[in-house]
């Protein structure tokens, strides 16, 4: 996608938001809605830039830290597990049913349980997001390792590679695109679940900020500024992973 297309898409979305906001505030809607519940970007962005160096920025950093820590933790746990399962058919046969059963369970329903176990603080939030990312990465890395052609392994072994060199020169680079793809497709879900997790038992993070401004303080422009911050975080992470993929896996993007 070109920069121009992305810019154009942004402008169209913002224009649609502003138009909707005008319609709502004009009070012409048939249902009895308040007229101040959808401030447009012209109102929200000044609040965003005013709040970001203060409370909003702090909440943003807390949320970002939770997501980044979860990403790092899930990669550190899922990559070795995926590589082992991908290389050993026996282990895979043993563990595959477990993964098969737990993979589709929406992890977000575990949030209340996790709060019971971990209480207030970062650990519970990081745990839930790690759980989501872990399974995504595990499955993709396992399949990437399992789908390596036997010919490839044999010919690298014939060059003298033992277990360690195979890991370094074959399994690790083969799993890299799988890790990044898994992160790219699941980072949106991760941010969404973070929002839900931050509604519980915490006074920090964007989820808390949005909830507080919207439901308690009834400061709608601030609430929308929080939503914008969360959206930007999801978008930023997505672009960052995408950029990493281009940088670390150039062979995936060459013209054939």
């Amino acid at each position: 996608m070109s920069r121009r297309a992305l810019l154009l898409g942004t402008v169209v979305l913002l224009a649609a938001w502003q138009t909707l906001s005008w319609i709502v505030s004009a009070g012409v809607l048939p249902f009895r809605a308040q007229t101040n519940i959808l401030p447009g970007p012209l109102v929200v962005f000044p609040v965003f830039f005013q709040q970001f160096p203060r409370a909003l920025g702090q909440h943003f950093l807390v949320s970002l830290w939770r997501v980044l820590a979860s990403m790092a933790l899930s990669v550190a746990l899922a990559v070795p597990a995926g590589l082992v399962m991908g290389q050993s058919q026996r282990l895979n046969r043993l563990l595959a049913p477990l993964v098969y059963l737990t993979y589709p369970v929406p992890k977000v329903v575990l949030v209340p349980v996790v709060v019971l176990f971990f209480g207030v603080g970062d650990a519970g939030k990081i745990f839930v997001i790690t759980l989501i990312l872990f399974f995504q990465i595990l499955v993709l890395v396992r399949d990437a390792a399992a789908n390596l052609r036997a010919e490839l392994i044999q010919s690298v072994r014939s060059l003298g590679a033992g277990r360690r060199a195979l890991f370094l020169y074959v399994y690790l680079p083969a799993s890299l695109p799988a890790v990044l793809t898994a992160l790219r497709v699941s980072v949106g879900t991760a941010v969404a679940v973070l929002y839900v997790a931050e509604l519980y038992a915490t006074q920090q993070g964007l989820g808390y900020y949005i909830f507080l401004e919207g439901s308690t303080l009834l400061d709608y422009p601030a609430m929308y500024a929080g939503i914008v911050a969360m959206a930007l975080m999801g978008l930023g992470l997505y672009f960052a992973v995408d950029g990493l993929e281009h940088w670390l896996c150039p062979w995936e993007f060459v013209d054939r």
């Binding site: 010919e151 074959v170 680079p173």
Partner: protein, 275 residues
């Protein structure tokens, strides 16, 4: 150079592919292993490469029993042997980097040899095989011939004394294939390599193999003293040999079918009978 002493081999739960098979290859010889699919040609190569172990008997190379891949044996497969995430140049240097990673331990890399300059040797082999202009391209961007030349460069960069090739040119078009066959002869003479080429192509076996190991009705050896030059491809001797091989292979395939139908395959004496 190569000594197979009463080697038997069967895949777990399968019928025997070799039973009590003995074979000797002298240093510097080129052997073509010819036969229909499923007769254990590739298995023979994997035994030589140390990637499979015989059920009984011994595979010896240079007087040493082969138990794992030997550092000075080079193996080239039909396809899929290149790392898709590495450029042509990185693929060519892969073996050298692996040897550098382990050091000259005699197990993964030859003992005693001083650590080679990866860059110098990579440059040399890229140039020797005409790959310099595509060095930064990934395997998916290379033609089939360039991919196979990359695989050859990668293997020869390790200065092997024994070269094993499994259907190396089967997926290439005819002119590319003949070009690479000629190149193989050149390199073989240049590096004084002992070579074993597995192929199902009669023409390839007749052209490359100074000796032909024919799988079919048992395993038989056919000498081919004329082979070794590019001009051999046009000679009367070459055509006659191709005809003879064709006839024998046809008879072998027919016999194997009959044997399979009679379910007597497992009890055959030489046992190259996985139809």
């Amino acid at each position: 150079m190569i000594d197979l002493n009463s080697v038997s081999f069967a895949y777990p739960g399968g019928r025997p592919i070799f039973s009590d098979f003995s074979w000797r290859v002298e240093r510097g010889e080129t052997w073509a292993v010819l036969g229909p699919s499923g007769f254990g040609k590739s298995t023979l190569l994997y035994l030589l490469a140390g990637l499979r172990a015989p059920t009984s008997g011994e595979v010896c190379i240079e007087g040493q029993v082969v138990r794992r891949p030997r550092p000075r044996t080079g193996l080239i497969l039909q396809d899929f042997g290149l790392l898709p995430w590495a450029t042509c140049e990185q693929n060519v240097s892969l073996g050298l980097r692996i040897h550098g990673y382990y050091g000259p331990d005699g197990k993964h890399a030859p003992a005693g040899l001083p650590p080679a300059s990866v860059r110098e040797r990579t440059e040399h082999w890229l140039a020797r095989l005409g790959l310099t202009s595509v060095r930064r391209q990934y395997p998916s961007q290379l033609s089939g011939g360039q991919r196979q030349r990359t695989a050859i460069a990668r293997t020869l960069a390790l200065e092997p004394d024994l070269l094993l090739m499994d259907e190396p040119f089967a997926s290439l078009d005819a002119p590319t294939r003949e070009g690479l066959q000629n190149l193989t002869l050149e390199l073989q003479a240049e590096q004084r390599l002992t070579t074993v080429v597995v192929t199902h192509s009669i023409e390839e076996a007749a052209f490359l193999g100074g000796h032909i190991l024919l799988f079919g009705q048992g395993i038989e050896t056919i000498p081919n003293p004329g082979a070794g030059t590019a001009a051999y491809r046009g000679s009367q001797e070459y055509y006659e040999l191709c005809d003879r091989l064709r006839a024998r292979m046809g008879a072998g395939a027919a016999a194997a079918e009959a044997a399979t139908a009679a379910e007597s395959a497992a009890s055959s004496p030489v046992g190259a009978r996985l139809a």
